[in-house]
């Protein structure tokens, strides 16, 4: 008899044994459901986890998590738990529950259950050992599944939000004949920068703009790549025959632009949007006068 066959046999026996033990464990958990669940909920409150939820809500969630936990131990399949944890994450993420809280409560439950096992098998040390051998891998896997489910759901939400932000395209607005304004708000990543440039160049063509005011008051900081891209946009606009005025540079961005060594002669910058529009009007030959004055003259 080959050793591999023997070890396979041994494996089978262990699996069968551990299933048996798990069933015993499940029976124990079902019996003490009320008490353990309550203890767990209390520990959660004590540890100040899930502070965004009320005590009743914590208790309700704890009950359903507990039942799912026991169910997973009983059946040994994780699909139901996966979809449950996704569902749970979907419900609690909008309420501001953090990753450490979710991991924390699952580990607490693991702890509560382990303690109850200690209490039950206190007298029989061998049995306790075997029960823990069966319990721990399953418990770890459950903790893992719930945590991963939560993080995946979070990532999905983040991706969705990123897409939503990207779709909020920056408008190219015409405020006067031949004068466009491009207000930029928020973070500019390289992809958004490229999109901005395309939109602006196309806007210059379709509106036959001569002057463009790019207002970046709403941009707190940008890295060297994006700053370079901005400068390139300014130059590309010039090739289309439009003058670009950049307004509202924050001190950080000003510093970035100086650090990357942009030739400031190429860039036309004005402190704020109002100043930018005034200069644009001068360039276009407009003169804004109060109605009363123009009536006199």
């Amino acid at each position: 008899m080959s050793s591999s066959k023997r070890s396979a046999n041994h494996m089978q026996r262990t699996v069968a044994q551990s299933t048996e033990l798990l069933q015993e464990l499940v029976a124990h958990l079902r019996q003490n459901r009320t008490q353990l669940r309550e203890e767990w909920a209390n520990r959660i409150t004590e540890a100040q986890l899930l502070t965004a939820m009320t005590t009743e809500e914590i208790f309700t969630e704890a009950t359903s998590v507990y039942d799912n936990y026991v169910e997973t131990l009983a059946t040994g399949t994780f699909e139901a738990l996966q979809s449950y944890s996704r569902n749970l994450s979907e419900r609690i993420i909008p309420r501001g529950v953090e990753t450490h809280e979710v991991v924390g409560i699952v580990l607490l439950l693991r702890d509560v259950l382990a303690r109850s096992l200690f209490a039950k098998y206190q007298g029989d040390f061998t049995m306790l050992n075997r029960i823990l051998d069966a319990y721990e891998p399953a418990a770890n896997r459950i903790a893992n599944t719930v945590a991963v489910g939560f993080v995946q759901e979070r990532e999905r939400v983040i991706r969705q939000q990123q897409e939503a932000i990207r779709e909020l395209s920056t408008p190219v607005l015409q405020v006067r004949e031949r004068l466009l304004i491009l207000p930029i708000i928020g973070v500019i990543d390289p992809q958004r920068a490229r999109q901005l440039t395309e939109q602006l160049l196309r806007g210059i063509r379709t509106n036959r703009a001569k002057v463009v005011v790019i207002d970046i008051t709403g941009v707190a900081a940008m890295d060297a790549t994006v700053a370079n891209h901005l400068v390139q946009t300014v130059e590309a606009s010039r090739l289309l025959g439009a003058t670009v005025i950049v307004t509202g540079l924050s001190p950080e961005i000003a510093q970035t632009i100086v650090t990357i060594g942009v030739d400031l002669g190429k860039m036309n910058t004005v402190g704020d949007l109002q100043g930018g529009i005034e200069q644009a009007e001068r360039l276009l030959g407009y003169k804004v006068v109060p109605a009363a004055d123009s009536a006199h003259s």
Binding site: R202, I204, R205, Q232, R238, G241, K266
Partner: protein, 120 residues
């Protein structure tokens, strides 16, 4: 392929119809200088709307043309650079400094007229 050069009052208009070889570009340069001198033109418009690519030689030749014509006391405007072309040029570092640009022929003409009006 030869680039037609039209005389429009005080100005000359050269419309590039298709991609040009280096030799064509040099020929355009010579023809433009000759005509500026012959017609005593005030300004030149080079229309590049049809070009979907501008390489470094084309860019340099256009800049040379501008500088040579400036020595004759006339202005040059490059018109009709496509948005994609403009951005590609900038990324290659071909920014055509010192060369006037305008959106299209109409813009170019009004730019030259303004310059001419300022001179008189």
């Amino acid at each position: 392929m030869e680039v037609p050069i039209l005389k429009q009052g005080q100005f000359l208009i050269a419309t590039i119809q298709a991609a040009l070889s280096d030799a064509d570009l040099l020929q355009l340069r010579r023809a433009l200088i000759d005509k500026v001198i012959r017609f005593r033109s005030q300004g030149v418009i080079v229309d590049v709307t049809a070009l979907d690519v501008m390489d470094s030689f084309a860019t340099r030749t256009l800049r040379d043309i501008t500088n040579m014509i400036r020595l004759r006391g006339a202005d040059t405007v490059i018109v009709g650079i496509q948005p994609e072309v403009a951005f590609a040029m900038v990324q290659l570092g071909l920014t055509m400094e010192g060369v006037a640009t305008a959106l299209d022929l109409e813009e170019g003409l009004s730019h030259l007229q303004q310059r001419a009006a300022r001179k008189t």
